[in-house]
């Protein structure tokens, strides 16, 4: 009766003992108990995204049964007040509107604690160490600690320094991991400085650089599309692909983030991380397995095949823009320089377009056009792969307008895939026209994808780094964009604002691209 082969495959539990009942249970449930410490727990990201994600995981039963949440921030809260604060934020921000109440909320709340802290004062980190030990004893969190840095980035090095000083960088009984929110640095030099601070304390396999974009289901679908099918691989190269266009467009302006954005800009905020990550996924070679190391290794390899531009090249391979007043969805909206916390003569780009080349066997000669901007006509994220035109006018001059095939991976707002191909119009004449085949994950599978933060926090708890960015890829992305940043920062653009809110973007960007997919 005993199933010996399965029993042998049962995963070990936290202390190395084997629990044979674990074998084969759903892998989406996290079994290893832990405390999660949110640095910056009184901030916007925590209340809007992180706390709702953790509570949703609790309600779905995907958190470990023995779990604790620790808030660590400057705002003065007692533990009870912080629990009340968390409850109030969940009332506001749970995406499905579910209310924290009853037995489940009471159980969750008793797992929440808080330390009012000065990030420069090591005594508070010693308090944290004591609190984590108390959680281990009283809540069974097993000595496993996940530190989540959701403070403004300038504070990261200070926190890491004090984690080390308080001997929190390792746990005698369990694991220690650190999640670092983006942006990871503001340029190549600052990213290297931050990396040096982190790697002095934590090894790479304990560092989780989060880019929530990578937790979105459609981004993960790119891997399945490319490597769970055979039909795309033979044509996924320079022989068939004419160019690739990657777009991340938003209709929103900077909203409440003017102070941050005016020091960042579209190139730092979107291209350096989200968009270059998409490029890596769409252009990388097939990893030998779906393991984190194999996927991240291939992503790094393809990024390393992109030659960073010289300063002299920058104007021929990039374009920038800044929105002025305009109209979005029928409403007049202000220009960027009129936004809150933005300098009235700001030189910050709200639109960035870059043309990159991947110098390897697969992609040599195929331009990759990347663009991202704010206050564009609509929210749209996609990867459009345009194939080469037909080699011979089979139908003669009457079909001069035959369009090349385009394969589009749609990421937002309607995740899916579409394909443009040519078909004969029924009738005696040889008319050919473009038709569009469309697959939507929403109607195809009829389910909402889980929010990105749920997926990523769960992965960090499970020790799966696949969807987190490895340092070598972060560094390479900075190496690619830093020359452009240098030139743009040191050159005042007197044409700003050079596109109206709600328009297609600056004319200079359209000239850079072989084709401008309409937004």
């Amino acid at each position: 009766m005993p199933d010996e082969t399965v029993a042998r495959s049962a995963p070990p539990t936290g202390d190395g003992a084997v629990n044979p009942l674990r074998a084969g249970l759903s892998a989406d449930r996290i079994t290893s108990p832990c405390s999660v410490v949110f640095f910056g727990a009184s901030g916007d990201l925590f209340k809007r995204m992180l706390l709702p994600a953790v509570y949703a995981m609790y309600l779905k039963g995907t958190l470990p049964a023995d779990f604790a949440l620790v808030g660590f921030a400057r705002t003065a809260f007692t533990v009870d007040k912080f629990r009340e604060y968390c409850r109030a934020q969940l009332e506001l921000f749970m995406p499905d509107g579910s209310k924290p109440q009853g037995t489940l909320w009471n159980d969750f709340a008793r797992r929440i604690s808080y330390i009012t802290a000065d990030f420069n004062d090591n005594r508070h980190f010693v308090d944290l160490k004591n609190l984590l030990a108390q959680n281990d004893r009283e809540l069974g969190t097993g000595g496993n600690h996940l530190f989540y840095l959701s403070t403004p980035p300038p504070v990261f090095p200070e926190i890491i320094k004090h984690l080390k000083k308080a001997e929190l960088e390792k746990s005698d009984d369990g694991w220690t991991r650190i999640v670092v929110e983006k942006p990871f640095g503001t340029d190549l030099a600052s990213a290297r400085t931050l990396q040096a601070a982190i790697e002095a304390v934590f090894p790479e396999n304990e560092i989780y650089r989060i880019d929530h974009y990578l937790g979105k289901e459609p981004v993960q679908d790119i891997i399945a599309l490319r490597f769970a099918n055979t039909i795309f691989e033979p044509i996924w190269n320079r022989n068939y692909v004419q160019y690739v266009q990657i777009t991340s467009a938003e209709s929103l302006g900077v909203e409440e983030r003017g102070g941050y954005y005016d020091h960042a800009g579209a190139l730092r905020d979107m291209i350096q991380n989200h968009v270059i990550n998409l490029l890596a996924l769409v252009a990388m070679e097939a990893p030998i397995s779906s393991s984190a190391d194999d996927i991240r290794g291939e992503k790094y390899k393809v990024l390393s095949a992109i030659e960073p531009p010289t300063h002299a090249d920058v104007w021929s391979m990039s374009a920038r823009g800044q929105y002025g007043p305009g109209t979005i969805d029928g409403h007049a909206v202000a220009g960027y320089r009129q936004e809150k916390d933005v300098a009235p003569d700001s030189n910050t780009e709200t639109f960035a377009a870059v043309k990159l080349s991947i110098e390897n066997w697969r992609w040599a000669g195929v331009p990759f056009y990347l663009r991202s901007g704010k206050r564009l006509p609509r929210k749209l994220s996609e990867i459009a792969v345009t194939f080469r035109p037909i080699p011979h006018r089979f139908y003669g001059d009457s079909t001069e307008g035959i369009e090349p095939n385009v394969f589009v991976i749609k990421i937002e707002p309607d995740e899916g895939i579409s394909m443009r191909f040519e078909a004969k119009v029924p009738g005696p004449k040889e008319h050919v026209r473009s038709v569009y085949m469309d697959f939507s994950y929403g109607t195809g599978f009829g389910v909402q994808s889980p929010p990105a933060y749920e997926r990523l926090i769960g992965d960090a708890m499970q020790g799966d780094q696949t969807l987190f960015t490895r340092w070598d890829a972060v560094e390479r992305a900075w190496e690619i964009v830093t020359p452009i940043l240098d030139v743009w920062q040191n050159t005042k653009d007197f044409s700003f604002p050079n596109y109206a809110a709600g328009s297609q973007g600056p004319e200079s960007a359209k000239k850079l691209f072989a084709d401008w997919r309409h937004l």
Partner: protein, 321 residues
């Protein structure tokens, strides 16, 4: 007499034309057979949920109706009255109406699995066969039939919803024995399951037995690897197809997972040498659509399920003796 499928095919073609150039996506053909009107009504509702998540062509074979019934709703929903139809006719109808390239999933929601020639005929073309023993019978007879059928056909891609329904409770039981508490597993002496239908309870005990190496030794007891007697007891408690309580005990400890008074939460309590503060889990009763999805994606070739089913079969056999 053959089914008149020409009009069904005609309506399907009309429906496709009406849809115009909208692309259609399909993941499978779902063939559902039932012979009980109440079960049929339930099946219709749940299969709609399944088909809304996994676009499918649904072919409902209604064993309560004669061939005056045929319903075509769009391209993807067909109902046929198949009362008194022969196995060959059913198989032929499915062959005609199924999507040509998509896999066939057969949901057999009726008694007679294995002995019913219609089931045998339909199962031959199915890539996945999903049974629901506790929907057919809240007692254990349907489960016994299923055990016997699987023994005779070990390679068929079979899954039972009653087992798949256990997943959140398996998780709850496993939680008790993580870490150092794993040692307690060898000390267990008693298992009690409160459930509104028997198949889930037998599956749960079968799962424990197969994972822990227990073998039946009496109508109400098993023998552990070390020769310790493990008594088991099944109570009818709560709604059919819902587990209400699982209790495991050794001489030193008691572990109980039970639906609490709010009916929204499972309370996990451990007393004795493995004492632990109470823990709570949200009750996660996956709908039938989610369970069928689980069966399709990984249920039918699950070695742990097969082992649990075999163990449940042995326990049932000892119970009869």
């Amino acid at each position: 007499m053959a089914l008149q499928l020409e009009s069904v095919l005609g309506e399907l073609a009309d429906s496709l034309r009406e849809r115009g150039c909208d692309a259609s996506v399909a993941t499978m053909s779902v063939v559902v057979f039932f012979e009980d009107a109440t079960i049929g009504a339930l099946a219709r509702e749940r299969i709609r949920m399944l088909a809304s998540k996994h676009p499918s062509r649904v072919i409902l074979l209604d064993g309560t109706q004669g061939d005056d019934l045929h319903v075509v709703n769009g391209c993807d929903w067909i109902e046929l009255g198949v009362k008194s139809r022969s196995p060959e006719i059913l198989r032929s109808a499915v062959a005609t109406l199924r999507l040509p390239d998509a896999p066939v999933v057969l949901l057999w929601i009726a008694r007679g699995i294995g002995s019913d020639a219609r089931f045998v005929s339909l199962s031959e073309d199915a890539q996945t066969i999903v049974y629901n023993s506790s929907l057919v019978d809240v007692g254990h007879d349907a489960l016994c039939e299923f055990v016997e059928y699987v023994e005779r056909n070990p390679k068929l891609p079979l899954a039972d919803i009653a087992y798949l329904r256990l997943a959140p409770w398996q998780e709850c039981v496993a939680i008790f024995f993580d870490g150092s508490a794993a040692a307690e597993l060898a000390e267990l002496e008693r298992v009690e399951v409160g459930c509104g239908s028997e198949p889930e309870a037998y599956y749960l005990i079968g799962w424990l037995a197969s994972r822990l190496g227990w073998t039946p030794s009496a109508a109400d007891a098993l023998l552990s690897r070390s020769g310790k007697r493990v008594a088991y007891e099944i109570h009818r408690q709560g709604e059919p197809r819902r587990i209400a309580r699982i209790a495991l005990s050794s001489a030193q400890s008691t572990f109980v997972a039970e639906v609490d008074a709010s009916q929204e939460t499972i309370l996990l309590s451990a007393h004795g040498s493995s004492e632990h503060a109470p823990r709570y889990r949200a009750i996660d009763n996956p709908g039938i659509a989610a369970l069928v999805e689980r069966a399709i994606l990984w249920g039918q070739n699950d070695r742990i399920f097969r082992a649990a089913l075999a163990a449940a079969g042995e326990i049932l056999t000892w119970g009869k003796e």
